[in-house]
């Protein structure tokens, strides 16, 4: 198995608050790493500093792309440009990340234009293909973001990220606004692309059922620290850390007779080592 990404001792503070505390992990090509954890524990900050959307304080991010191993944080803006095609991010807040004055056609076409791919007719066709793949009507292309539902906007973001056929896709809560039926279709799509093109996913999500279904490995974050990581089934079946146990105990059952009764924080050891 080829390694695609290697993150070592990544740290990021805002002011005097340490938000990401020395996080390290490796990801193999064509695999999916889930990142779960407390709200506010630093998941978005972590993935954004990996992609250099924000500058980390220390640590390294090495990426094994088409140009071989490179340290992402040592590249100049110009050297980074080709990587902008290989690595894509789907943002947590779909509305805020879509330009309200652009039609969906322009939004989806933009990455192709930036990377100077194809002619107009080809690009138009690619947009139509992507819309179909994320289960949106072809007529969507001419509409503006405000004319869509939350889940439809989320799918526009997904289509935009996938249109360049990237190698690494970072999904930050990317299927959270979808009903379970459309969600499972989108996850099937992501899986199909993975086996077809060898895509690798970093998959930040709160829905633990989805993570269990979709990811190979999982990393559990609590208060800026990785408290547990390993193959999904192992972590879900025999969690080591009390925070992971707490998370698993708080998944609501769809059986109304089974009342949710999460573990009591007071009885757990949530101290960080």
């Amino acid at each position: 198995m080829t390694q695609l990404l290697s993150v070592k001792n990544l740290c990021k503070s805002f002011g005097d608050q340490l938000i990401v505390n020395s996080v390290s992990f490796d990801v193999n090509e064509s695999s999916t790493l889930g990142i779960v954890g407390e709200s506010g524990s630093g998941k978005t900050t972590l993935v954004r500093s990996i992609l250099r959307a924000i500058d980390p304080d220390s640590g390294s991010v090495r990426y094994n792309g088409e140009a071989g191993w490179q340290n992402l944080h040592e590249l100049s803006a110009k050297e980074l440009l080709p990587l902008r095609r290989e690595v894509q991010m789907i943002f947590q807040d779909p509305f805020a990340s879509l330009n309200p004055r652009m039609t969906v056609q322009t939004i989806l076409e933009e990455p192709l234009v930036i990377h100077d791919l194809g002619d107009k007719a080809w690009r138009k066709q690619r947009v139509m293909e992507m819309l179909e793949k994320v289960q949106l009507d072809p007529s969507s292309a001419a509409r503006f973001p405000h004319a869509f539902s939350g889940g439809q906007r989320q799918r526009i973001g997904i289509a935009r990220a996938l249109i360049l056929e990237p190698r690494l896709v970072v999904c930050d809560e990317s299927v959270s606004a979808l009903d379970v039926s459309v969600q499972s279709q989108i996850l099937d799509l992501l899986k199909a692309l993975q086996s077809e093109l060898g895509l690798t996913y970093l998959f930040v999500a709160h829905d633990l059922r989805v993570v269990r279904e979709f990811c190979d490995e999982v990393l559990v974050m609590y208060s800026g620290n990785v408290v547990e990581q390993g193959p999904v089934e192992e972590v879900f079946n025999s969690p080591d850390h009390d925070y992971t146990r707490l998370l698993l105990s708080a998944i609501p059952s769809p059986d109304p007779d089974e009342k949710l009764d999460p573990l009591d924080r007071a009885t757990l050891n949530l101290q960080l080592a």
Binding site: S39, A147, G150, A177, S181, L246, P256
Partner: protein
């Protein structure tokens, strides 16, 4: 007069006029929101859940053409026909500013980027109650603690962009709850929260509902959340209401094939079904246009299994 219902939605149809022709978002939607009750709305992405709740708040854009009627029966005043209120009618202000409050689906769009979190939540208190600034600030602080934020005094001096997605969502929930509305509308309020915070928020919404004896319209696609929080469930698909019922009936004994399909699509459900039957389910779901023919007996059995 309606003794039992806070809101009645009757034959609501909403069409958006666009340059490319019209989009029908709701077709003849009718259901009630009983008093002292949490009603969940589940359904397909794009099925009209947010358009329904925005219609109750009269927040649809000018391009929307509405027919049908929404009537609100407030506790101590005359019924209000929401759909026929003029834009300048003072009752519209009282509707949006207190009778009904809403947790929006996308938190960033509901917060002002240039005001501190604390000021925004305190402002929500000041809009609804005649209290001093200090009292509003401390009420805001206590509500933010109840939604699970820590170091509240420090966080209240921060701006929305300095908050995580889930922290912003909790601010919006706090702002809606602090108004003590007769109708609380929550549009996907817990999607950005980890499950432990989600569990706490669900308990908070339920206990405030019981204390205030108000009504809650709770839009979610998480059937686990529905099971934990709702008394009644409305199932929507393609702008229509397919099924309305008691939470136990809908989740344990769903009548409509689409509801069965939703239950079968829950992540994890696949582990118990074979790939083929999953695909069949999928195709059946896609073919649902007419709202009939779905789920064979075999599928019927599988969908009723609950997954952990």
């Amino acid at each position: 007069m309606s003794a039992n219902n806070l809101v009645s939605i009757n034959n609501l149809t909403v069409e958006f006029k666009t340059e490319l022709g019209s989009v029908t978002a709701l077709k003849d939607v009718s259901f009630d929101l009983p008093r002292n009750c949490i009603t969940a709305v589940v359904g397909e992405s794009g099925s009209g859940k947010s358009v329904t709740s925005n219609s109750i708040m009269r927040l649809l854009p000018d391009s929307a053409q509405t027919s049908g009627e929404i009537i609100l029966y407030p506790q101590k005043s005359e019924p209000i026909s929401i759909t026929s209120l003029a834009e300048k009618d003072p009752r519209l202000r009282s509707l949006r500013g207190g009778l009904v409050s809403m947790v929006f689906q996308e938190p960033m769009t509901a917060l002002s980027p240039v005001h501190r979190i604390g000021d925004q939540v305190a402002e929500a208190v000041l809009c609804h109650r005649e209290v001093s600034k200090e009292a509003a600030w401390s009420e805001a602080a206590s509500m933010l603690e109840q939604v699970g934020l820590t170091d509240v005094q420090q966080k209240m001096r921060m701006y929305p962009f300095e908050f995580s997605g889930g922290m912003r969502q909790r601010v919006i929930i706090a702002m809606a709850l602090i108004c003590h509305p007769q109708l609380l509308i929550c549009d996907e309020p817990t999607t950005a929260l980890d499950v432990t915070i989600q569990a706490e928020i669900l308990v908070l919404i339920k206990s405030l509902q019981q204390k205030l004896q108000n009504s809650v319209l709770f839009i979610t696609h998480d059937l686990g959340v529905v099971a934990q929080v709702a008394d009644r469930v409305v199932v929507m698909y393609d702008g229509q209401v397919l099924e309305v019922g008691d939470v136990k009936q809908i989740l344990k004994n769903p009548q409509h094939p689409y509801t069965c399909h939703l239950l079968a699509s829950m992540p994890g459900a696949e582990r118990r079904t074979t790939k083929e039957s999953k695909q069949k389910n999928w195709a059946a779901g896609a073919a649902l246009g007419g709202g009939t023919a779905l789920a064979t007996a075999e599928d019927g059995r599988q969908v009723r299994e609950f997954v952990r």
